[in-house]
């Protein structure tokens, strides 16, 4: 039982960042119809930026997190501007190929800059875990979880309460009519890609200090984001949030009670099963980006 609860707690902690990754990807797909293969690279980028500010430049850790997220947004905007904007209206296959090319180029640029040697970010939280009866969890994880939840809520509010968010949702629901309302569709797409990228960078920035940094760390993050998004239904904000927690739970339980070797297979098996039986994702009826 203790072990079960510990697994549950671990899943909860991990789920927050998974949800963050999923939301970023689902927003981009929902509004832009682009399968973003660079998502994992933004995650990696976020992590290395925290390293760069906190470790290389000795900036305050929390400030470094903020910088990393802001730069993630900027990089996302740049990718959108350079690679996607000229291809507006191209088929989903074309943009997918472009994004695969960008993914390969970005990952290896990261390798070039940071080398393959793993990097570690020292964080200011105590090493001793918080002990709750039979359970334990580290301070940094709690911090990461809280920030992730804050970002999720923030993204939710942004999408539902702000003018920009409304413009995004309207673009997603009916592009032509949104244009009739005076929405600058191009700008909205850039903003969406930047925001989605920023969330991925945030996930990387948060998890970087928990884990270690290697240039290929984004691959798993990207594949998991796909799993989460499929689970929740492409384009669904709530679906991605729930999907993030569900994937974490299934992985944790699968590794704990079935076989740790198949931990990563769980997500993909879920994708396949979900798509066979509910091709539009588990939360197809849930409210779409809005």
């Amino acid at each position: 039982m203790d072990r079960f609860l510990q697994h549950l707690l671990n899943a909860l902690m991990l789920g927050g960042t998974y949800a963050l990754l999923g939301i970023g990807l689902t927003m981009i797909f929902g509004i832009m119809r682009v399968v973003n293969f660079t998502h994992g690279e933004l995650y990696t980028f976020g992590a290395y930026m925290v390293f760069f500010f906190a470790m290389t430049l000795s900036t305050n850790f929390f400030l470094a997190l903020v910088f990393a997220m802001v730069l993630g947004v900027a990089l996302g905007a740049a990718i959108e501007f350079v690679l996607l904007r000229p291809l507006r209206g191209a088929s989903i296959d074309t943009t997918m190929l472009i994004m695969i090319g960008a993914w390969i180029a970005l990952q290896n640029s990261e390798q070039l800059v940071w080398t393959g040697v793993a990097k570690s970010v020292i964080h200011p939280f105590p090493a001793e875990p918080v002990v709750l009866g039979p359970l334990s969890v580290s301070w940094i994880r709690i911090f990461v979880f809280c920030v992730a939840i804050l970002l999720i809520v923030g993204a939710h509010l942004l999408i539902h309460r702000t003018r920009l968010g409304k413009a995004m949702r309207s673009t997603f629901q009916d592009r032509e009519t949104a244009a009739l309302m005076g929405v600058n569709i191009n700008a909205i797409q850039t903003a969406t890609f930047a925001l989605g990228s920023g969330l991925a960078a945030a996930a990387g920035a948060l998890l970087g200090p928990v884990f270690v940094l290697v240039p290929s760390m984004g691959d798993m993050a990207a594949l998991k984001s796909f799993a989460i998004v499929i689970l929740g239904g492409l384009g669904s904000f709530k679906g991605a949030t729930l999907g993030g927690f569900m994937l974490a739970l299934v992985e944790e339980m699968g590794a704990g009670y079935i076989s740790s070797g198949y931990r990563d297979a769980m997500g993909f098996l879920i994708i396949i099963v979900v798509l066979i039986f509910r091709p539009t994702g588990l939360f197809a009826r849930a409210e779409r980006i809005g």
């Binding site: 003018r163 409304k166 629901q173 009519t177 244009a179 009739l180 309302m181 005076g182 600058n184 809005g290």
Partner: protein, 234 residues
């Protein structure tokens, strides 16, 4: 107020509008009638800037808006109430109305206009928090009109406002349009329901195969047998 000269629009190889010329004067209610596929909707899309014309010139208040963006055209005071309502289904009624004044930055004026819309369509106020996709067809039409009004337009383009509505709602819709016009908004309306449109309007243009074949006051066209032929064949 609005002048169109020699407008040509194409979808790929299909020429949907051919050498179309028309004008709308301040305060008028002008209708475009004609059978399906005559090019009416295309004309409206070209005016509101979501479709690039292949040739021709569109001017509003004497200013060339042929190549202007939808955003710029809206800012100049042209609102387009599209065919089939096109409310944002997963946004609430309030949010749909918010989208109508997306470009406006005057909170006071927006609040006043919102008041007006709610006075005109009390049902929208009742359903303020409801998702627009769950409204009935008639309510959606009200919302679409309300949303267009929120931009405080000087010229409103209506595309088939009666389409798919129950007969009593069709009447109501036309009454509302007449009212809007009475309050000083110029209206250009596309309508398949020719007789109703002709009774309502000051002037009308009959479109066939993308070109204007007949023009005149509503009453003149009502009496012209060619109108019936255009719809039902000769």
């Amino acid at each position: 107020m609005l002048e169109i000269e020699g407008l040509d629009c194409r979808y790929g190889k299909v020429r949907a509008v051919r050498d179309l010329t028309l004008e709308v004067r301040e305060g008028e209610l002008v209708t475009l009638i004609g059978a399906n596929g005559a090019g009416k909707t295309t004309t409206l899309k070209a005016i509101s800037g979501i479709l690039r014309p292949a040739a021709g010139r569109i001017a509003f208040d004497g200013e060339d808006i042929t190549r202007a963006s939808a955003r710029a055209i809206l800012a100049k005071g042209i609102a387009h109430c599209p065919e089939g309502r096109h409310v944002f289904p997963y946004m609430s009624v309030q949010e749909n109305l918010d989208m109508g004044c997306y470009l406006r930055r005057d909170p006071g004026g927006i609040a006043r206009d919102l008041r007006k819309v709610f006075e005109r369509f009390p049902v929208l106020e009742e359903r303020r928090r409801q998702m627009a996709g769950t409204l009935s067809g008639g309510e959606q039409q009200m919302l679409a009109i309300g949303r267009a009004l929120m931009s405080r337009p000087r010229l409103m383009l209506f595309d088939e406002p009666s389409l798919g509505l129950a007969p009593n709602l069709v009447e109501t819709t036309f009454e509302i349009i007449a009212e809007i016009r009475a309050q000083g908004v110029t209206v250009l309306m596309v309508e398949q329901n020719a007789y109703a449109a002709l009774e309502l309007c000051d002037r009308s243009y009959l479109l066939e195969s993308g070109a204007v074949t007949l023009t005149g006051s509503g009453a003149e066209l009502l009496d012209n047998p060619h109108v019936k032929e255009a719809y039902l064949g000769g």
